[in-house]
């Protein structure tokens, strides 16, 4: 059935090479419902921490905030150095969110 759907299912390779016998061989990962899979069924990948990611998305999209010559830094107008600084901001926020959500 799966093979009908894919034309040739990407995972049917080993089944073909090792014969169909092996396919029906029971294995220790079979679930009661007949599917193979992990013990913890669905790990949610949403987290309140993800809201923090909006900060480095929204701020760079608001030129009114940084469309200014001053203050300068190393001789660079604010418009230029602030947009480069946003890269550091994004890096920081993503790192924080990654560490906070890593263990799920």
């Amino acid at each position: 059935m799966a093979d009908d759907f894919y034309g040739r299912a990407p995972y049917s390779r080993s089944a073909r090479s090792s014969g169909s016998r092996s396919r029906s061989r029971p294995d220790r990962y079979v679930h009661p419902d007949g599917r193979t899979g992990t013990a913890d069924e669905e790990r949610p990948d949403s987290s309140p921490w993800h809201w923090l990611l909006w900060v480095p998305i929204v701020i760079p999209l608001m030129p009114v905030l940084y469309n200014d010559m001053n203050p300068r830094f190393l001789g660079l107008p604010f418009y230029y150095w602030s947009q480069l600084a946003f890269a550091g901001l994004a890096s920081l926020v993503i790192t924080v969110v990654h560490l906070a959500t890593k263990d799920r």
């Binding site: 059935m1 799966a2 759907f5 894919y6 034309g7 040739r8 299912a9 990407p10 995972y11 049917s12 390779r13 080993s14 089944a15 090792s18 092996s22 396919r23 061989r25 294995d27 990962y29 079979v30 007949g34 599917r35 193979t36 899979g37 992990t38 669905e42 790990r43 949610p44 990948d45 993800h50 990611l53 909006w54 480095p56 998305i57 760079p60 999209l61 608001m62 030129p63 009114v64 469309n67 200014d68 010559m69 300068r72 190393l74 001789g75 660079l76 107008p77 418009y79 230029y80 947009q83 480069l84 946003f86 890269a87 901001l89 994004a90 890096s91 993503i94 969110v97 990654h98 890593k102």
Partner: protein, 568 residues
């Protein structure tokens, strides 16, 4: 015109680096060599086993291309603030990707997908939609490869070489080692590329900072230059009505970057979700190197650089040649040259995989073996690269730039199927196809209406159609000078059509397509029994020390989707 005789040191440095890279490209085929490289996952995804560092180099090599290094500072040179949009674009893209890409990685690893179109095919149960996404991907990628050649061409022009045969020779070499080594070649070479780029950027930053007035003087001269031009759209800051196009261009470019098949190829080669997420945290910092290169547009104004023969892409290489010692300029040229090789290789591999998996195996040879798939992909990647060379040599470079402009709008239309599809399969397959059609028609119609303006006052019409991507809102009858990025409007049309048609089609066609993915496929990680691992394919279910890995499923019991989830 620059003459070759004056630039011999630069040329030999360039040629030396090129030779080293070529040797590495061929040697890459032996790097962590599996039992057989004749599978598409080995050739086209490097065995899906790249760790933190290699993934970083691969993705940075992919995103920050030679064309970016040459064309973006040129924009800043000509326009000032409005040309700086890649900075916000390459900041906002990473937080966006952080959430989305992990899901994409997981579902592709569970099912063994090599391309985004294969995911769409399984998610919406429509091979037509999958093929459409594949065709759009190939269409958008080919001109992107061609514009990489423009980066090398600019360097050759500045070194006083002719455009034809050196360009062809460079690409023949590239084509051969990609053919031989697959994704391993650009992955290994991108380490050299990044070293050269960082060296060049640091040198440039120090040189400009240490002139008499530092960056302050540079900006003063640039401000005076922009004030002296009759153009109104240039300057060190954005005009009020430039802001909309600035923001939409940044947003649209970010969306497009995620959807380009070559970005996703780099992503799929990562070993696990953690590698991916750590890289997305680190990659924004690479935007700093691009930022410094963009600022060189101002440095070029300061140094009074005039482009060779009116070709503005030569501005940055010319500045390197004037500001750096000869050997250092040679290294900078090599950075651009290698910077074209890496993404061109990844792009051609991505396009070739799309062709093989979604067109060849789907419609031409459903029974193709692993080895046959790999051969087809190799040949397709050669074809794509030579197509790009022919476009540049026989047609003209402007044509490639136009196509790339259209390509960005085209690839954005796959967002509802690929990105939204990662979260929901609610959208109906035919509504998605109709949405893509409507978005493409709207996008092309708008691009057709945009003339290219230029000349000293920035208002003379040079060409009437396909001259840019900023569509004036005045076309809608609004009384404003603001313009908006075409891709964003076309995408809105696409989403609207898809959302409106979905409930209608659900009423008619209750079954829709069968969704072959399951919710937990989107959160699977390395080590989960459902995730296909290369060690499993290579070592037959044992870990590196030969023990049977407790978490690895024997090959034959690998997850096969037995249950079909019907949508609602």
């Amino acid at each position: 015109m620059p003459s070759f005789a004056d630039n011999q040191t630069q040329f030999w440095i360039f040629a030396f680096v090129f030779g080293v890279v070529t040797i590495m490209g061929f040697a890459a085929g032996r790097w962590r060599r599996p039992a057989s490289i004749h599978t598409l996952e080995e050739w086209g995804l490097g065995g899906r086993a790249f760790g933190n560092w290699v993934t970083f180099f691969l993705l940075s090599g992919d995103v920050y291309t030679a064309y970016t290094f040459v064309a973006v500072p040129t924009l800043v040179y000509g326009l000032g603030a409005a040309g700086f949009f890649p900075a916000p674009f390459l900041v906002i893209v990473y937080p966006m990707l952080f959430v989305v890409l992990s899901r994409f990685w997981s579902v592709c690893h569970v099912h063994g997908f090599v391309t985004p179109a294969e995911f769409v095919r399984a998610r919406f149960g429509s091979r037509g939609l999958g093929a459409l996404v594949a065709v759009l991907g190939i269409t958008a990628t080919m001109p992107y490869i061609a514009v990489q050649l423009i980066g090398i061409e600019a360097v050759f022009t500045v070194m006083g070489l002719p455009g034809g045969w050196p360009l062809t020779a460079a690409f023949v070499v590239l084509a051969l080692y990609t053919f031989n080594s697959g994704l391993r070649a650009p992955a290994l070479i991108s380490i050299v590329k990044d070293a050269l780029v960082v060296w060049t950027v640091l040198a440039a930053f120090i040189i400009v900072s240490s002139n008499a007035n530092g960056w302050d003087g540079v900006f003063r001269v640039a401000e005076a230059r922009f004030a002296s031009t009759p153009r109104t759209d240039d300057g060190l800051l954005l005009d009020g009505h430039d802001q909309l196009s600035y923001v939409t261009l940044a947003l649209g470019s970010a969306v497009a970057l995620f959807l380009y098949p070559h970005t996703l190829t780099g992503v799929l080669a990562a070993r696990n979700r953690g590698v991916l997420r750590r890289n997305l945290a680190a990659l924004p910092l690479y935007t700093l190197t691009l930022g410094v290169l963009m600022l060189l547009g101002f440095a070029a104004i300061f140094s009074g650089i005039e482009p060779v023969g009116g070709d503005r892409n030569t501005v940055v290489p010319l500045w390197f040649n004037s500001a750096f010692p000869e050997w250092c300029a040679g290294l900078a040229f090599a950075a651009i040259g290698v910077g074209a090789m890496v993404p061109a290789a990844i792009m051609s591999i991505a396009a070739a995989n799309l062709f093989t998996r979604n067109i060849y195996r789907e419609y031409i040879r459903p029974d193709a073996s692993e080895a046959e798939e790999t051969t087809v992909s190799k040949i397709a990647s050669l074809t794509v690269k030579f197509g790009a060379v022919l476009v540049i040599l026989l047609l003209n470079t402007q044509f490639a730039v136009d196509l790339q402009l259209i390509g960005g709008v085209v690839i954005m239309q796959t967002l509802p199927a690929v990105a939204i599809g990662l979260y929901t399969s609610w959208l109906h397959r035919w509504a998605l196809i109709a949405g893509i059609g409507a978005g493409l028609v709207a996008g092309l119609a708008m691009l057709y209406q945009i003339p290219q303006v230029g000349g000293p006052d920035g208002a003379t019409v040079i060409r009437e159609h396909f001259g840019g991507s900023a569509w004036p809102l005045a076309n809608l009858g609004l009384d404003t000078e603001s313009s908006i990025y075409v891709g964003v409007v076309a995408l809105a049309v696409n989403l609207l059509v898809a959302a409106v048609l979905t409930p209608v089609l659900r009423g008619i066609d209750r079954n829709g397509g069968a969704d072959r993915t399951r919710p937990r496929d989107y959160t699977a990680d390395e080590g989960d029994p459902t995730v296909r691992r290369m060690s499993e394919l290579v070592d037959g279910g044992t870990d590196t020390e030969g023990r049977e890995h407790p978490l690895l499923v024997p090959r034959q019991t690998r997850y096969t989707p037995a249950t079909t989830y019907r949508r609602r």
